[in-house]
C-alpha cells in the first residue's frame, strides 16, 4: 500500500446466491483510490459497478454475500470490522450516495425534518446544531435555505440530488462514494452537478468515487478511472489516457462507440454481455473481442502494471503481473 492511498480494494468477490448457483457479480476486483482524487468506475449495465461499491461499503444483504477479499480504508480492513465500529466510519468518514437516492426522500416530511434526523442519529448532534450544519451545507451545494421548509415534490430532480449531496457531506467525510449521481437528470442539471462534485474536491478536499455508465460524465469529471466488464476490472488509468489511448480491446471499442459532436463514424460492440451465472472461460471479453486468440479462451489474463498509473488485464500485452 502506497502512502497516498486512502482506500485499497484487494481481490474482492461479491456473489449472490440463487437456485441456479452463485451469481458472480463482482469476481476478483482490485484497485486503489488516492487521497484527494476523483476516481471513476465505468462499465455497462450488469457489469457489477453497484455491487462493487456496495461490497466496498459492506452494504451487501442476503442473498448477496462477500465471498472473499480485503477493503482497507485508512489502514483498517472494513470487511473484518465489527458492525458497531463500522457504522461509526460510515457517514462520519465515508458517505454513500446510492443510485436513485434523490427519489428516496420521504414525501410526507419536510426537507428540514428528514435531513436533521439523519444528522442527529448519525452525528450524535442536537437538533439545533444539526439544523445549523445542514443550512451551512445547503449553501455549499448551492441551495437557498428556504428549501428546508419544502417537501420533496416541490423540488426538481436536480435540487433533490443536491439535498442528498448536502446530507452526504454534512459530517465532513473523507470519502464520498456516489453511484450514478447524475443519471436520469437533464443535461443542464447534469453539467451543474458535475461542477458541484468537482468543487467538493477542489475546495473541501473530499475524495470521491464516482460510479457511472456515462463515459462523457467520466471524461468531464474524474482524474483516474477503472473500466469494468463482466465482474472484473479490465483497465485502470488516467482519464486522459483512457480516452486518448485506450489499451484494452473492450476500452478501445467502448470509447469508439461514443458519438461526439464532430459526427465521426461510431461503431458499436457486436454480441451480448455474458451472464454472471456463467462467465466465459479465460478472458471474459474473448467472445466479443476482434483480437482474441487461442489463449484468450483458456487462460484468464492477470492484471498487469504497464506504466505508472496504468493497469490492464489482457493477453495482448506484457507487463508486471500484480
Amino acid at each position: 500500500m502506497e502512502k497516498s492511498d486512502l482506500l485499497t480494494v484487494d481481490d474482492l468477490k461479491v456473489y449472490y446466491k440463487t437456485i441456479l448457483g452463485d451469481y458472480k457479480s463482482v469476481d476478483g476486483v482490485s484497485f486503489a483510490v488516492h487521497k484527494g482524487e476523483i476516481f471513476g468506475i465505468a462499465g455497462e449495465s450488469g457489469c457489477g459497478k453497484s455491487t462493487l461499491v456496495d461490497g466496498v461499503l459492506r452494504l451487501i444483504r442476503p442473498p448477496g454475500y462477500i465471498k472473499s477479499g480485503r477493503v482497507v480504508f485508512e489502514g483498517i480492513d472494513l470487511l473484518k470490522l465489527e458492525e458497531n465500529k463500522l457504522s461509526e466510519i460510515r457517514w462520519n468518514k465515508i458517505s454513500y450516495i446510492p443510485q436513485g437516492s434523490m427519489n428516496s426522500l420521504n414525501p410526507v416530511l419536510t426537507i428540514e425534518e428528514q435531513t436533521t434526523d439523519v444528522l442527529v442519529e448519525r452525528g450524535k448532534l442536537d437538533k439545533d446544531r444539526a439544523k445549523e450544519l445542514i443550512q451551512q451545507k445547503l449553501s455549499v451545494v448551492g441551495l437557498p435555505k428556504e428549501i428546508l421548509k419544502t417537501y420533496p415534490h416541490e423540488l426538481s430532480g436536480g435540487m433533490r440530488q443536491r439535498v442528498i449531496i448536502a446530507v452526504a457531506i454534512a459530517l465532513n467525510p473523507t470519502l464520498v462514494v456516489a453511484d450514478e449521481p447524475v443519471t436520469a437528470l437533464d443535461v443542464v442539471v447534469q453539467s451543474s452537478l458535475l461542477a458541484l462534485l468537482k468543487e467538493l474536491r477542489d475546495k473541501y478536499g473530499v475524495t470521491l468515487i464516482f460510479v457511472s455508465h456515462d463515459m462523457a460524465a467520466h471524461a468531464q469529471l474524474v482524474d483516474r478511472m477503472a473500466i469494468m466488464y463482466a465482474g472484473k476490472i479490465v483497465e485502470i488509468g488516467e482519464t486522459d489516457h483512457i480516452f486518448r489511448d485506450p489499451i484494452h480491446p473492450y476500452t478501445k471499442l467502448l470509447v469508439s462507440s461514443i458519438p461526439t459532436l464532430e459526427k465521426k463514424k461510431i461503431k458499436g460492440i457486436p454480441g451480448v454481455a455474458p451472464s454472471p451465472l456463467n462467465w466465459p472461460s479465460g478472458c471474459r471479453f474473448h467472445t466479443r473481442c476482434p483480437w482474441a486468440t487461442d489463449i484468450c479462451s483458456k487462460i484468464e489474463p492477470p492484471m498487469m502494471k504497464m506504466t505508472d498509473n496504468r493497469y490492464v488485464a489482457c493477453h495482448l500485452y506484457n507487463g508486471d503481473v500484480m
Binding site: 455497462e44 449495465s45 448551492g142 441551495l143 437557498p144 428556504e146 428549501i147 416541490e154 423540488l155 426538481s156 430532480g157 436536480g158 435540487m159 443536491r162 437533464d186 443535461v187 443542464v188 447534469q190 453539467s191 451543474s192 452537478l193 458535475l194 461542477a195 458541484l196 468537482k198 468543487e199 455508465h213 456515462d214 463515459m215 462523457a216 460524465a217 471524461a219 468531464q220 469529471l221 482519464t239 486522459d240 480516452f243 486518448r244 471499442l253 467502448l254 470509447v255 462507440s257 461514443i258 458519438p259 461526439t260 459532436l261 459526427k263 461510431i266 461503431k267 458499436g268 460492440i269 457486436p270 451480448v272 454481455a273
Partner: protein, 333 residues
C-alpha cells in the same frame, strides 16, 4: 399538400389532474402549447429535443394517434389522424410505426419473439405463410447485421435491451412504414449497443426511405442521426432548423444553454462549469404564466419577454426561432 408527411397545426394538449370531488381542486397541465411544424415527405430524420417535461412524449403520442389534441390539428398526409383512425386504421398503423423508450415493456413475456414478428407480418403485411414470413425475417435481420440464429426462438428476457430495440427496426424493415416515431429509443441501452442502433436507424432511412421523428433529450445522438432538429422548451417549440446549423450556431438562448451543457466525451475539453448555484427562480420550477417560457432562466430576458410570448419567426436558411432577440431580423415570410 401531398408533399407534407406530418403536420402539427396550432396543437395544444391540456391534461386535467386532481379534482376528484366536484369542481374543486382540478388543475390544468398544459403539456404542449400552440405547436406548429411540418415534416416533409422525403426520407429524413427529424430530431425533437428537449428536457424532461418539455412535452416530447406527448408529441410522439399525438403523431402516433395514441392521443388527441385538445386544440388544433395533427395531420398525416393531409388528413386528420382521427379521420385516419376512423376510416383506415389498419393502413395508418402500417404506415406509422412507433418505438417506445422502454425495450422491456412492449413484448409479451410469455411468447417467443418470433410470434411477435409473425403476428405483425400477418396483421400488417398480410403474409400468412409462416415459412415465407420466416425467410423475410431472416433476410431483414441479416441486413441489419443481426444473427437470426441467436435471436429467433428466444423469449424477450433472453435478449438484451439493445437487441429488443433493434427488433423494432427489423419490424420496420419488414412492414416498411412511411413514418417511424422513435421516442427515446436509446436512452435505456448501453453505449456499445446504442451505436449499433443508431447506425441501423440511418440504414433504414437509406434502405426503405422511411422518415423518422427521433425524440431525445440527447443532443449528441440527435446531431449524429438527424437532418433537422426541433427544440422544445416547456411545451413550446422555440427553435427549428437543419441539424448542423442548430448545433453549430444555435439561435435561441435555450438552445445555446442546451448545447453549452452537453457533456463531451473528451477529457481534453472539460467545461463543466455550469452554474454551481441554483437560482431562486428555479425553486418552484414553475413555468411562467405569461410571456416567454424560458425567461426565468434566460440571461437576455427583456421587458417584453415578461408580458408577451414571442412568435415563431422565420430566420432564413430553413430556420425558425421564437425569441424577441430576433424579432427585428427581416422576416422572409
Amino acid at each position: 399538400m401531398s408533399d407534407v408527411l406530418l403536420e402539427f397545426r396550432n396543437v395544444s394538449v391540456i391534461f386535467k389532474i386532481g379534482g376528484g370531488i366536484g369542481l374543486f381542486g382540478a388543475k390544468n397541465i398544459v403539456a404542449v402549447r400552440d405547436i406548429s411544424f411540418k415534416l416533409r415527405d422525403i426520407p429524413m430524420i427529424t430530431a425533437l429535443v428537449g428536457e424532461s417535461g418539455s412535452g416530447k412524449s406527448t408529441i410522439a403520442r399525438l403523431a402516433a394517434g395514441l392521443l388527441e389534441p385538445t386544440v388544433g390539428e395533427v395531420k398525416y398526409r393531409g388528413k386528420n389522424i382521427s379521420d385516419w383512425l376512423e376510416t383506415k386504421e389498419k393502413q395508418f398503423r402500417k404506415e406509422v410505426q412507433i418505438i417506445f423508450q422502454d425495450p422491456y415493456g412492449i413484448y409479451n413475456p410469455y411468447y417467443k419473439i418470433d410470434r411477435f414478428l409473425y403476428t405483425a407480418l400477418k396483421k400488417l403485411a398480410n403474409i400468412k405463410d409462416v415459412n415465407h414470413s420466416r425467410s423475410l425475417i431472416i433476410e431483414a435481420m441479416h441486413s441489419l447485421g443481426m444473427r437470426p440464429d441467436e435471436i429467433l426462438g428466444r423469449y424477450p428476457h433472453q435478449l438484451s435491451g439493445g437487441e429488443r430495440q433493434r427488433l423494432m427496426l427489423v419490424l420496420a424493415l419488414l412492414i416498411k412504414p412511411r413514418l417511424l416515431i422513435a421516442d427515446e429509443p436509446v436512452s435505456m441501452i448501453d453505449a456499445s449497443l446504442r451505436a449499433i442502433f443508431l447506425e441501423n436507424l440511418l440504414e433504414l432511412k437509406n434502405k426503405i426511405s422511411t422518415s423518422c421523428l427521433y425524440i431525445t433529450h440527447d443532443l449528441i445522438t440527435a446531431n449524429y442521426v438527424a437532418d433537422e432538429i426541433l427544440v422544445l422548451c416547456h411545451g413550446r417549440l422555440v427553435e427549428s432548423g437543419p441539424a448542423e446549423k442548430v448545433i453549430s450556431d444555435p439561435l435561441h438562448p435555450y438552445t445555446k444553454l442546451l448545447i453549452k451543457s452537453i457533456l463531451l466525451p473528451d477529457p481534453k475539453m472539460r467545461h463543466v462549469v455550469g452554474d454551481v448555484r441554483v437560482q431562486a427562480a428555479t425553486l418552484s420550477e414553475l413555468k411562467p404564466e405569461k410571456g416567454c417560457v424560458f425567461r426565468y432562466r434566460c440571461p437576455y430576458a427583456m421587458k417584453v419577454c415578461e408580458t408577451q410570448e414571442p412568435r415563431l419567426i422565420r430566420f432564413g436558411d430553413g430556420r425558425h426561432v421564437a425569441c424577441y432577440l430576433y424579432e427585428s431580423t427581416p422576416s422572409l415570410v
